[in-house]
């Protein structure tokens, strides 16, 4: 096939298809989401594709298929692995018959995650091999190898790209599609049933297997070293050890420093660690600098190896203070770190390159992510805020676009921990502060993923909190994926949508009110009624604020400011923080950016002088506003 442009996630999706998978399951999470979407978009017609309700379900679904000899793929982001940890830990002992690869996309930074955890460390903990690709084209080739590896050794394997591999493009030629494994009917065998006796035997077995794999992986071409030790000014012989995208940064930095020939070890499978290869690499070196994201995994393995084999060299990296303990690396970071380590001719270059950029004379705007103009979450948060004005109330939040409700001026997210925690943290808070009015905000997708059990916990343990479901008919933050409430699956088939209110009713909640958050007075009234019910009856009650995400809804006619009526009180600006509303420099009046306004009308409800008008009611402004109007924002 000829070379084409592929984003890393596309490369991995296509590699999975070419590896002959029968099934892919996953849960959306940046930076992994496009992998499964690619498979859906290029489905040859015989691959089962599913967005599962959460990562645990996704892994278990894939495991079931792999028990029958299928090749299965699971995709998630790094914190999703925390959710899938339970099945993965056991599956490491049980093994698979076909092949099972779990792609876990790490997020150095983090750019958009709760933690900066390193899945390579997780692999060592769950005793499962892990692959760490350094580029989109390597990810393609390596994923094919990962499936073969999983099948050969009958074990799930982890595959860990990071953001710059997932969300970067490269051009390469795709290979042909392998014959799909035809899954055979499930063969009943006690080996599929986890029991302590099986676990004892399995643990011993996989420890031996991993030791054997360490030797096997030392021979694989994707783990290698090259080059010559670099002599420092005082005669020390220096080398580098890298893993993942840091390899790419290192190659670039070394090129720029004119030091591409330095002895460099690239570890593509950090667990089981290829000890023999590393020991070989260590020969003739006095010092090695480990450059990796995120934990000191290579550093630790080399230190252990040093102790075990009494190697006469110094291992440097994060623990030695020669590399940062946290945060994303880059070519710039490596130029600085290498400069220090190598005492290099970099001296001239690094002054130019790493000098802090001169501060701009003008103050630049801060642009933290905000709720889009027209987002129903803005209206929902505002309604509850108004309802509880002057009263002690705590608002627990959760993971999704609505986490952005924490920003000024809404300030409606007091806690956020992980998926589904809004409900259960609320319960803990209530036990500690019995008189507080507590509202737990959860999105529709999060509700299905891990919110339902929290509701059951509150009901069973009789904890009076107000559950607020923010139902925008979308899994928006991760790129507009469907979920069980929507009636559409990734295979395009219709499935009966699960109605959240019916689930809540079924659980035994008496007070459930559904409102359109944009009907502000009704939404505020409902929030007050819920709070009253909750404190009077000492029972959990539910509000469902239902209005579609702008990414899945057509724009309405924009709103405009009537300058004759605007007094410049700025209430619209101060109260809701809509990105479409700004300040006209000359008049000091509010102004609405027609490129951004989605026509939700929330600002109209706030204006004390009725200076905000729907442009469709104003013939002249309607034309110019329609011309300037912006469509959906994602892309």
């Amino acid at each position: 096939m000829e070379k084409q442009l592929y984003m890393g996630n596309q490369a991995m999706g296509l590699a999975a298809i070419d590896a002959g998978i029968s099934l892919v399951s996953g849960y959306p999470g940046t930076p992994s989401s496009e992998i499964l979407e690619t498979i859906a978009a290029h489905n040859p017609g015989d691959i089962y594709v599913e967005w599962s309700v959460n990562e645990k379900a996704a892994l278990e679904v894939a495991a079931g298929a792999a028990y029958c000899g299928a090749r299965a793929l699971v995709t998630m982001k790094q914190v999703g692995l925390n959710v899938a940890a339970d099945p993965l830990m056991s599956l490491a002992y049980i093994g698979v018959k076909g092949a099972l690869v779990v792609i876990v996309a790490d997020d150095p930074g983090p750019i958009s995650s709760q933690t900066e955890q390193d899945s390579r460390s997780f692999a060592a903990f769950c005793k499962v091999p892990i692959f760490d690709p350094s580029s989109p084209e390597e990810a393609y080739a390596l994923l094919l190898e990962a499936f073969d590896f999983s099948e050969k050794y009958q074990t799930p394997v982890l595959f860990r790209p990071t953001t710059r591999v997932c969300h970067g493009c490269a051009a390469f030629a795709r290979g042909p599609r392998k014959q799909k494994n035809a899954p055979a009917p499930f063969v009943k065998d006690s080996k599929w049933v986890i029991f302590p006796r099986l676990a004892q035997e399995a643990h011993r077995r996989i420890e031996k297997r991993n030791d054997a794999l360490s030797a096997i992986l030392s021979e694989k071409s994707w783990n290698f070293f090259r080059g010559q030790a670099l002599k420092s000014a005082d005669g020390r012989r220096l080398g580098l050890a890298v893993s993942g995208v840091t390899y790419a940064y290192a190659c670039e930095a070394l090129d720029r420093l004119g030091l591409s020939d330095i002895k460099l070890l690239k570890i593509t499978t950090p667990f089981p660690f290829p000890k023999e290869l590393a020991a070989d690499f260590a020969k003739g070196l006095d010092e090695v600098l480990c450059l990796e994201e995120l934990d000191p995994v290579l550093e630790k393995e080399l230190l252990i190896l040093s102790a075990q084999r009494r190697l006469n060299w110094t291992v440097r990296g994060k623990w030695s203070g020669d590399a940062p303990r946290a945060g994303e690396l880059s070519c710039d970071a490596l130029l600085t770190l290498l400069g220090a380590f190598l005492d290099a001719p970099k001296a001239a270059q690094s002054d130019e390159n790493s000098a802090a950029p001169a501060a701009s004379a003008v103050e630049l705007p801060q642009r933290p992510p905000v709720l889009c103009a027209g987002c129903p979450h803005r209206a929902s948060f505002y309604a509850v805020k108004q309802a509880m004005k002057g009263q002690r109330a705590i608002f627990t939040g959760d993971i999704g676009c609505y986490t952005l409700g924490n920003a000024a001026p809404l300030n409606m997210v007091d806690t956020c921990l992980c998926m589904g925690a809004c409900l259960t943290i609320a319960q803990g808070l209530k036990r500690a502060e019995a008189d507080a009015q507590i509202f737990a905000f959860i999105g529709d997708s999060t509700f299905f993923a891990s919110g339902m059990t929290g509701v059951v916990n509150a009901l069973y343990n009789a904890c009076p909190i107000v559950l607020v479901v923010l139902d925008n008919a979308n899994t928006a933050m991760t790129g507009n994926q469907p979920h069980p409430g929507l009636g559409q699956t990734m295979l395009g088939s219709a499935s009966p949508p699960l109605a959240i209110e019916k689930i809540l009713e079924g659980m035994g909640i008496d007070f459930i009110q559904i409102c359109d958050p944009f009907h502000l007075p009704a939404a505020v009234h409902a929030a007050r009624a819920a709070a009253t019910y909750c404190s009077e009856k000492a029972r959990l009650c539910a509000l469902i604020y239902r209005a579609p995400c702008i990414a899945v809804a057509k724009p309405q006619s924009v709103f405009v400011i009537d300058d004759a009526r605007c007094t410049g009180c700025r209430r619209c600006l101060r109260e809701i923080g809509c990105p479409a509303i700004g300040l006209a420099a000359d008049t000091g009046h509010a102004q609405i950016d027609a490129r951004l306004c989605y026509g939700c009308g929330l600002c109209e409800s706030l204006c004390p002088t009725r200076a905000i008008i729907n442009s469709s009611q104003q013939p002249e402004s309607a034309t110019s506003a329609a011309e300037g109007r912006k469509g959906a924002r994602h892309g």
Binding site: I111, S360, L583, K630
Partner: protein, 198 residues
Amino acid sequence: MADYLITGVGGQGIILSSRLLAQAALGRGLELRTAETIGMSQRGGSVTSHVRIGSHQIHSPLIPLHSADVLIAFEPAEALRCLPYLKDEGALISLVEPIQAVHSALSGRPYEDRAVCAELLARRGKTALCSSVALSATLGHPRFVNVALLGTALKLGLLEFEPEEIEQALAVLVKARYLEKNRLALRLGVENTEKNFS
């Protein structure tokens, strides 16, 4: 053979612009590598794409500081923010219309876009500032302005490609129903004379 940095605010079409350059590079059989910001930043945040094109193998997807040859910006504050990535003698092309951040609006202090543009023009190296107002009006929607700016960049010789190569890239990357509008945007951008230079 160049390193291009493309920046703006989420939603302005930075990703399409970077893919167009990458696709054009592929059309010439050149080596290429990109890095994109996808996700949270789109919601009103700063978005930057790195597009690296060359004849030899390219390693890092991210362009090091002071190394970009060209900075293409759809928003002036973002242009200024990304300036440290641009070589001193590198070329900059930017739209002048500011997108005010909610934060600035709340504090009652919108950022000084004129001061930003003045600072951009004061730099060493070729700098072109363009207005998108007329273009938006002609095209009927601001969403095509990114492609129009690429057209202007082509005309100014900031991109190593011919307009036809970008048109071919459009045909690969853009949905059929938007293709004509995008082609028009490219042509209008090439013909655009409303700009400041330094």
